[in-house]
């Protein structure tokens, strides 16, 4: 790991170098009062003022709609065609947050548990993550409670920490990260060992530990807490769609006469039809059951099965929720509750 220093005024020069060399650079841009990840063409497009974006950056590796394969029918015969390699291009995700970077770990685990998902892997392999440590946080952030932190370096290729009004610390962790540094070597100088990164990081109080949640919900399947918490839930998919870890998807068909594509698109466990059988029977018949599934999946099933938690503490779901289903609040109350 290498520690470097870059002047704040040089950051845009560096990013412009990256944009010139890398076909796809994704960064937050201004979006109304908030920010949203988008393809950028200019370093000046990047919006640094907001804490996080509305949506997570998972769509860089797991797009909301993607082709699995194409088919063409010819009389009784059918031919299948793969997605072309040219769709998978080198990508830099600029100014991700530590909670965004960390989220690719559970995603990668899900897509590689047993069956290896080629499409995800091909996209993910081409991604370089440049993370910016958080100097500030808002009331929805709870990364420290889920094992991350405002300066967590996990899964990032390089991390930028703004130290003061003039300079930023750049930590390089991987070969991919180093390649980006090499694009504009002259802008960097060796960092002084005395730089205290932790001092400038946001202070995010830890409200619970993920293990606490895990232990509490283990035997809470029949608890009344699910109904109490989900009473106001409207059953939309906003939380799942903005979540950096939610990977549930639907498989659909886009047909045009004799040819078409099989499509994979996002789906959400919050929808009533998600589990409904053709016969009309629904194993998760109400919103309480669906809310429970969401929490149990992230904090019980995933750790038990994949040894990783399905929540990074980014707080996006709470920000997106139309009825303010604040996940920190709900998780805290789970952590403090006692179940028999």
């Amino acid at each position: 790991m290498e520690k470097l220093i870059i002047k704040l005024q040089d950051i845009n020069t560096w990013l412009d170098q990256i944009i010139e060399k890398v076909p796809r650079v994704i960064a937050p841009i201004k979006y109304g009062q908030k920010a949203e990840f988008a393809l950028i063409k200019n370093a000046t497009d990047v919006h640094y003022d907001s804490q996080t974006t509305i949506s997570s950056v998972k769509s860089a590796a797991f797009p909301s709609t993607e082709t699995l394969f194409a088919y063409a029918k010819n009389g009784p015969d059918t031919k299948l065609y793969n997605v072309a390699e040219e769709n998978f291009v080198n990508t830099v995700i600029w100014r991700a947050r530590p909670c965004d970077a960390i989220a690719f770990k559970p995603m990668t685990k899900i897509f590689n548990s047993d069956y290896q998902d080629e499409l995800y892997n091909k996209r993910y392999e081409k991604i370089t993550l440049v993370t910016f440590a958080c100097n500030k946080a808002d009331e929805f952030c709870f990364c420290t409670s889920t094992g991350g932190g405002p300066g967590s370096i996990e899964n990032s290729d390089a991390m930028v920490t703004v130290i003061d009004k003039e300079k930023a610390l750049v930590e390089v962790f991987t070969e991919k990260g180093q390649q980006l540094i090499d694009l504009a070597k002259e802008l960097f100088e060796k960092a002084d060992e005395s730089i205290d990164k932790d001092a400038v990081l946001a202070k995010i109080p830890q409200k619970f530990t993920k293990e606490q949640i895990h232990d509490h919900i283990q035997n809470a399947f029949k608890s009344s807490i699910w109904k109490a918490q989900s009473e106001r839930c409207l059953g939309c998919g906003a939380c799942a769609y903005v979540c950096p870890v939610c990977t549930c998807f639907d498989i659909q068909e886009d047909s045009h006469g004799n040819q078409g594509r099989r499509i994979r698109c996002w789906d959400s466990c919050g929808f009533q039809l998600y589990t409904q059988h053709t016969s009309g029977y629904n194993p998760r018949p109400n919103q309480a059951a669906r809310w429970r599934q969401r929490i149990l999946h992230k904090f019980l099933y995933m750790p038990d099965r994949l040894n990783i938690y399905g929540c990074t503490g980014c707080g996006r779901c709470s920000r997106a929720c139309p009825v303010d289903m604040n996940i920190v609040e709900h998780l805290t109350s789970i952590a403090n509750s006692i179940h028999e």
Binding site: I251, S255, Q293
Partner: protein, 272 residues
């Protein structure tokens, strides 16, 4: 990527229920393809989508696979429109299978309802092909009406075999004047037949409501939980443990199932 299969034969089993006999278009794929009784598959009607059912033929009968389905939604209507000689998609084998090897030497009791005989048939045929390895075989099969019974020819065949005890039943009101089988709901008929639970394994397959009422009957008959098997039929899309909808507790039905024994089910949250 699914295999491309050619439809060799279309058999109409009952109103709205068809069996398709499929062979691999690419013979090499067919030769290397292996599965076990209980595995399921994703069948695609191109242009409509993909749908999940068990493989209805036995792994011991090589050269083809069969699927049986009832017309219910978009994909099954699409499959229904397919004719002999046409092609469709097939992803298999998916999921787990019945532990046939553990059942050697045991008596087997099969309880099936309606369209749930197909997943069972893979096992039954498999067992019949290795008949001497197993003890007594009892089959209790019920459907709503006489018309809804599937595999009528095979049922006759089984009926005539001396080494199979077959009990067919239809729900009250579903009988015809010629009906020679029993009348009554499957769980009740099972209680009436009362197969011996000694050294026996019960395999139950049917709609959730039938399973719910069949389990207590089996328990009353003395079957131990670990000797009662069933297949769960949650909604599935990917079949490979990714898309998330068949998630029941820590399990994905499509990966860890569809075959579960009652001991496992009792530990699962009731979401199936």
């Amino acid at each position: 990527m699914p295999y491309i299969m050619v439809i060799d034969k279309v058999i109409v089993e009952a109103p709205g229920v068809k069996t398709l006999r499929l062979r691999f278009q690419n013979e090499e794929e067919g030769k290397s393809f292996e599965f076990k009784a209980g595995n399921f598959a994703e069948y695609s009607a191109f242009g409509e989508g993909e749908c999940t059912f068990c493989i209805a033929s036995a792994p011991t009968r090589k050269g083809y696979v069969e699927c049986t389905f009832r017309k219910a939604g978009r994909v099954t209507f699409g499959l229904d429109r397919l004719e002999e000689g046409m092609t469709m998609g097939f992803r298999a084998p998916l999921g787990n299978h019945f532990p046939l090897e553990d059942w050697k030497g045991k008596n087997l009791v099969f309880v099936a309802g309606g369209i749930a005989l197909p997943p069972m048939r893979a096992v039954i045929d498999n067992v019949l092909d290795r008949r001497d390895e197993f003890g007594n075989i009892t089959i209790v099969y019920g459907a709503k009406t006489v018309n809804d019974l599937v595999y009528k020819e095979e049922l006759n065949e089984w009926n005539e075999r001396p080494d199979v005890n077959l009990f067919q039943t239809v729900d009250p009101g579903g009988e015809t004047p010629e009906w020679k089988g029993k009348i009554g709901f499957t769980p009740n008929v099972l209680a009436e037949v009362a197969p011996d639970s000694n050294n026996a394994v019960a395999i139950v397959c049917g709609p959730p409501i039938m399973i719910k009422f069949t389990f207590p009957v089996l328990t009353n008959l003395g079957f131990k939980d670990e000797n009662i098997y069933t297949t769960l039929e949650n909604r599935m899309k990917c079949g490979i443990g990714k898309c998330g909808r068949c998630n029941v507790g820590p399990y994905f039905v499509c990966k860890d199932g569809p075959v579960f024994c009652k001991t496992q089910l009792d530990q699962l949250p009731p979401e199936f």
